[in-house]
């Protein structure tokens, strides 16, 4: 199915999760997106007055795999070891939604035509919502890169934004995915090893605190995110329940010949309206709560990765020290050992400095994002509750009014 989305308009959910104070010399947005069979094609539009680019305004078409390539390029780049690399956007996943639409199509004869139409409408809205979300997540990834003073100057980034042709980045094949898994395992094992290493003392209280904090925080935010998802899904289920109820009330109403006729018909209308409101509550919870938690779960993982890299650098520094001592006692190859130790020291200090800055930024970003989303969540909940109260009250007045 072909779906277009005008991202960059009001339907910009996840962007709101991240506070971006970039300089305006480089503006990136996803101006259009098309969903075909199993691929989504994003149109990335850049506006920039930087001398590096050939034009001031230009667009390219990119697919998800190319975003991943860009992300991995940053991660593997030693220069950015001291920075929090913005988490990669998740793969567009329409599987569940597509399955549901298919099941609906196969049909359940006990469902009336109106019910069917409503359910189809709901599922299509769901599909569209997922689509908008994936666009927004890809967009926010690029925008964070553009806003970061160091990351925005990366060569690969420019290529990604400007190069008109396909980047010829194929998706990871099985070997590479497996390789990715193994790397992660090795990384965690390494981390465990380093922290257990004797003599490796954390010299800086700040980092000690950050490590304990991030470890716990990441687990708990992941938990909260999963549970928020469940709440949202239960709410959606509830909203969908109103469809058959409204339909049954409607048929009851049309059959009745007494005063209950109007009562049932009014009630059917009420439940239809309540359904829409409940649906909105569910989607707002999704956007303001679930998505925000999910984003910061990933971001906190990126922060953890940064800490790991710094810890690795510290371990390397410690090892270099030991090697230097050994070299000095043996009085052999002191010079290379010295220079190596220098390098490690410099690297470690560089990483520590930038990490400190990054982590402070992370915190302020997180706080302001939570603040914004929690306020919006509360305001939207209030709005919907007030609307529900109004329609309920109106129906009550109408019902009580008739003899």
């Amino acid at each position: 199915m072909e779906t277009h989305a005008e991202a960059g308009k009001e339907g910009k959910p996840s962007c709101a999760s991240v506070d971006l104070q970039g300089d305006s010399s480089l503006q990136v947005e996803i101006s259009d997106a098309v969903s075909e069979r199993d691929k989504v094609k994003f149109t990335v539009q850049t506006k920039s007055c930087l001398p590096h680019f050939a034009q001031t305004e230009f667009s390219v078409v990119r697919q998800h795999e190319e975003f991943i390539w860009l992300h991995d390029a940053y991660v593997e780049n030693e220069e950015y070891a001291g920075l929090i690399i913005p988490p990669a956007p998740p793969r567009p996943d329409f599987e569940a939604s597509r399955e549901k639409l298919q099941k609906l199509g196969e049909g359940d004869s006990s469902v009336t035509r109106e019910e069917f139409a409503k359910m189809k409408q709901e599922l299509e809205a769901e599909y569209l919502a997922i689509f908008k979300k994936t666009v927004a997540m890809h967009e926010v990834f690029l925008q964070r890169l553009a806003a970061h003073p160091t990351l925005c100057r990366d060569h690969n980034f420019f290529v990604f934004l400007e190069y008109g042709q396909d980047l010829s980045v194929r998706g990871k094949n099985r070997k590479e995915i497996l390789g990715g898994f193994l790397r992660n395992i090795v990384k965690s094992a390494d981390e465990a090893l380093i922290t257990g290493m004797s003599g490796l003392k954390e010299v800086d209280d700040f980092f000690e605190h950050e490590r304990t904090f991030l470890l716990e925080y990441h687990t708990r935010i992941r938990d909260a995110c999963l549970r928020a998802d469940r709440v949202m899904r239960a709410h959606k289920c509830l909203a969908d329940d109103y469809i058959p109820i409204s339909a049954a009330l409607s048929s009851l109403g049309t059959q009745e010949v007494n005063q209950l006729r109007t009562s049932f018909l009014k009630l059917a209308e009420l439940f239809e309206r309540l359904r829409k409101l409940e649906g909105r509550v569910a989607s707002d919870e999704d956007l303001k709560l679930s998505d925000m938690l999910r984003y910061y779960m990933r971001d906190s993982q990126a922060a953890k990765d940064l800490l790991y890299r710094r810890l690795r650098a510290l371990a390397d520094y410690e090892n270099a020290n030991k090697a230097l001592d050994k070299a000095r006692t043996r009085n052999r190859e002191v010079r290379p050992a010295e220079s190596h130790q220098q390098l490690c020291c410099q690297r470690f200090e560089r990483l520590s400095d930038s990490a400190k800055q990054e982590l402070t930024d992370f915190k302020s970003r997180r706080v302001s994002s939570f603040r914004k989303n929690l306020i919006e969540l509360a305001e939207l909940e209030l709005k919907h509750a007030k609307a529900s109260t109004l329609i309920l009250r109106n129906t009550l007045v109408a019902l009580k009014g008739e003899p």
Partner: protein, 519 residues
């Protein structure tokens, strides 16, 4: 003879007449709302029947629509009547003048006036009517409560005893407030007695709550968990509704068994109500036999009213079942939502604890508290969903089954009458044969038998007419009750939904400043 064999046809377009009447009723309804300045109240203050003047039609509709009772008053006086048509009453009470009501068919007036002149049965019905009016009108005052379930005994012989409290000003009871202890099988016993006395003559006896072997076993075994307390509460509420419906029925209220149930401190144990007892199995067999019989009875329905009503109830039954299934799904999902919200609240609290930014940490803890309160709200709402909406629907599904049963009894009654007529015919043929064969003693016997069967035919006819009459009245009363019941419950349910939303507003309004306070 004065009394016609069958209800005189109300003109050929009988069903359409009813429709006209319904529209007419609605017409009056709208005039009422414009005529009255105060909000229309459902319960009438006592309006004496003789108050209706025959002159203007203006004020009449006002009085007519408000007064439910007068329907019943005049219903008895007529053979056949559409009980949903209040317009007819002014016609009857005033000196009959056919030109009175313009809207509804005036051709219907004539037969009614005739039947008004029927003496004895009318008077009898009137006096019973008066009692009914007393029962139905504002003097009707009896309130039943079922409360305080307590477990008596231990192990598999244990049972729950419920307190049945009656508050009444009716003179037939010796006290104005009294209570007794009853167990579930007592209720079933009461229903079984009432059913055996009244069902086959056409009264809609409210069905008792259903047995539940699983539920009761859990309680007996002593599982003190939420599912068994829920089960007991569900049962208690169902028993209360059952008694309230039963006492609302004017005829059943007069029944001595009902009175004994409500009043006497000791009640003989009803053992035949056990599912697996001999009587229970006999009941099941009888039910099966009935079902088979029903399929084979081909009744000559001369009265379209019955056919129409049966179809109506059949449709209603189907629709209610569908709605009930959907509402049950709603209850289930709301409970799920509640559980998920509680889980989220906990993880939000944990997150708040980890958060090292103080203001955000506090806000997250507040969020956790809000979500916890919302979980409570969802639970209460699920409760309301169930006890108000879902149980109402399941009650009516079973009530409609009782209504269908009453229609079936009428069919059986007809069958009996029909069989008697066939037998009479056979006896007459036999007599004729005897006459030809000239066997004097056999002829005498044949004549005796003919007399016997003539009487049976007459009785069959009377019974059939009686049950038809009763059913019409009962269905009218049932429909009125149904309308009242549904409207009351729907309003209560919507009010519960409003309550939930208002609480939500309160909670989020309290949270908003906390979120804004994050610096």
């Amino acid at each position: 003879m004065a009394a016609e064999r069958e209800p005189p046809p109300l003109g050929d377009g009988k069903p359409t007449d009813f429709e006209d009447l319904e529209d007419g009723e609605d017409l009056f309804t709208s005039t009422v709302s414009t005529l009255e300045s105060s909000p229309s109240s459902p319960e009438p203050t006592s309006l004496p029947a003789e108050d209706i003047s025959a002159n203007s039609n203006g004020p009449k509709p006002t009085e007519v629509v408000l007064d439910d009772d007068r329907e019943d008053l005049f219903a008895e006086a007529t053979e056949e009547v559409s009980l949903d048509s209040p317009e007819r009453e002014p016609i009857l009470s005033s000196e009959p003048s056919p030109a009175v009501t313009p809207v509804t068919p005036t051709t219907l007036i004539a037969p009614r006036i005739e039947s008004k002149s029927m003496s004895a049965p009318v008077i009898f019905d009137r006096s019973r009517e008066e009692i009914e009016e007393e029962a139905n009108g504002d003097i009707f005052d009896i309130e039943i409560g079922v409360s305080d379930p307590e477990k008596v005994g231990d192990g598999m012989n244990a049972y729950m005893a419920y307190r049945v409290t009656t508050k009444t000003s009716l003179s037939m009871f010796s006290k104005s407030e009294f209570s007794v202890k009853r167990r579930f099988s007592d209720f079933l016993g009461l229903h079984s007695k009432l059913a055996s006395k009244y069902l086959h003559v056409g009264y809609i006896v409210p069905p008792a709550p259903e047995k539940s072997i699983v539920g009761m076993t859990k309680v007996k075994v002593g599982k003190e968990d939420s599912s068994s307390t829920e089960f007991v509460e569900k049962r208690r509420a169902a028993l209360e509704r059952y008694l309230q419906r039963t006492v609302k029925h004017p005829t059943l209220l007069q029944d001595p068994d009902l009175r004994q149930f409500l009043e006497s401190s000791e009640l003989p144990r009803a053992v035949n109500t056990q599912a697996l007892s001999g009587a229970g199995i006999l009941r099941m067999v009888n039910k099966a036999a009935d079902a088979v019989n029903k399929m084979t009875i081909k009744m000559n329905e001369s009265d379209a009213w019955f056919e129409e009503k049966q179809q109506q109830f059949e449709n209603l039954d189907q629709q209610l079942r569908k709605l009930h299934a959907s509402v049950e799904a709603l209850v289930c999902h709301r409970k799920e939502l509640s559980a998920n919200t509680a889980a989220f609240a906990k993880s939000a609290a944990m997150l708040g604890n980890s958060e090292d930014h103080t203001a955000l940490s506090r806000a997250l803890s507040q969020l956790a508290e809000v979500e916890e309160k919302i979980d409570q709200l969802h639970q209460e709402q699920a409760f309301a969903d169930f006890y108000m909406f879902s149980e109402l629907l399941s009650d009516y599904i079973r009530l409609i089954a009782a209504v269908k049963g009453v229609f079936d009894h009428r069919m059986k009654c007809w069958q009996k009458w029909e069989d008697a007529q066939i037998t009479l015919l056979k006896k007459r043929e036999a007599e004729a044969k005897m006459m030809v064969a000239n066997k004097p003693d056999k002829i005498q016997q044949a004549k005796n038998e003919i007399r016997e069967w003539e009487a049976k035919v007459q009785q069959g006819e009377r019974d059939f007419e009686q049950i038809s009459k009763t059913i019409r009245k009962e269905v009218g009363r049932f429909e009125k009750e149904r309308v009242k019941d549904f409207k009351t419950v729907i309003i209560k349910y919507l009010e519960s939904l409003v309550q939930t939303q208002q609480q939500l507003i309160k909670y989020w309004e309290a949270f908003l400043p906390e979120a804004k306070a994050i610096a």
